[in-house]
């Protein structure tokens, strides 16, 4: 019986890895910048190296990368506690202006900014980054049900923002 050779990289063969890198790396840089990282490129590259360095295969490589970037960015930020930046500010879409401008319009960014930061993070990963519920749960280290709850609450908040008098119309 011929044994199946393990893939060269967590994303498959070299060309698949290159494609994944081209798709994920700019997003990881943007994600690190959203957490207020001083050197987001370094953090994204370090996350890739950590992933590739692992002997054991990773079930969700994309989630692993996002999770590593999040941890590294938060660790980098730890000595800067005195700057008194809250998660609200950290997850502010405006902090990654050049990256977000490519993805989001000004109105969308404004709507996202008004959301609760906890819900906004889950919504961002789900809608903008295109990650699955399971991946988000892995990144944020919370149960999948909690991720779903946050996304649904973010959706409800968005709906309220888009149609603030909707409730009255419904009642009428």
């Amino acid at each position: 019986m011929q044994s199946v050779a393990p893939p060269e990289t967590p994303f498959g063969n070299l060309s698949q890895f290159h494609e994944a890198f081209g798709a994920v790396y700019p997003r990881l840089v943007s994600y690190a910048r959203r957490y207020g990282a001083t050197f987001p490129e370094d953090i994204a590259q370090e996350a890739f190296v950590i992933l590739m360095q692992r002997e054991e295969p990773v079930e969700h490589p994309t989630a692993f990368l996002y999770g590593t970037v999040r941890t590294l960015a938060l660790t980098e930020r730890r000595p800067m506690k005195n700057q008194n930046l809250s998660l609200d500010v950290v997850m502010e879409p405006g902090r990654a202006a050049e990256a977000d401008d490519l993805l989001l319009s000004r109105e969308v960014r404004e709507q996202m900014r008004l959301l609760n930061p906890t819900f906004r993070e889950a919504l961002w990963l789900f809608v903008v980054e295109g990650l699955s519920i399971r991946e988000i749960a892995e990144i944020l280290e919370i149960p999948e049900a909690t991720v779903k709850t946050r996304i649904h609450r973010a959706k409800a908040q968005l709906r309220e923002q888009l149609n603030p008098t909707g409730g009255i119309h419904v009642l009428a």
């Binding site: 290159h18 494609e19 590739m52 969700h60 699955s132 996304i151």
Partner: protein
């Protein structure tokens, strides 16, 4: 997206529908992100990172170089501790000496007390023996049978004198 991602393949239809709905609410382009070919720079960077990962994997026990602290820093940091320990040690030695002296004094006192107790005990024993003897004598005298009571008068033995053969006695009244 040609690279495999198990989570995306296993995603339920309702999650995909929810994403589409939210994308619509936010005015984002619906559906997965368009496939973008990686640039030459990205490929080069990816290869660099892959080589770095391989290098690290083959040197798993590589310990990052740490800046060694100068010896005097360690000495300066440890000096208060050493002085404190030495002070505590001296205090301990002094306390030990005092405790030994007190223990010796206590032992001496106890020995003196024992000696006095023994003397006292000997005196008590002797007195008890005397009392026992007296009691025995009294009991013995009480047990001896007694006859009728007799009056005993002490008598002086008369002086013996040699009486002459013939003695003439004249009556001076006559």
């Amino acid at each position: 997206m040609s690279w495999p991602d198990p989570a995306r393949r296993e995603e339920p239809a309702e999650d995909a529908a929810l994403r589409l709905e939210l994308q619509g609410m936010l005015g984002l382009p619906k559906g997965p992100a368009p496939r973008v070919e990686p640039t030459e720079a990205q490929i080069a960077l990816a290869e660099d990172l892959r080589r770095e990962a391989l290098r690290r994997r083959h040197t798993p026990n590589l310990v990052p170089l740490k800046r060694r602290r100068p010896l005097w820093t360690l000495v300066a940091a440890g000096l208060p501790l050493v002085l404190g320990l030495a002070g505590i040690g001296l205090y301990g030695v002094q306390q030990k000496r005092r405790a030994d002296e007190l223990a010796a004094a206590v032992r001496q006192k106890e020995a003196e007390n024992d000696r006095l107790r023994r003397i006292h005990q000997d005196a008590l024993d002797r007195q008890r023996v005397l009392e026992d003897q007296t009691l025995n004598l009294q009991q013995a005298s009480a047990r001896t049978p007694k006859g009728p009571r007799q009056l005993v008068l002490p008598v002086n033995k008369p002086a013996e004198r040699q009486l002459p053969e013939n003695l003439t006695v004249s009556n001076p009244r006559r």
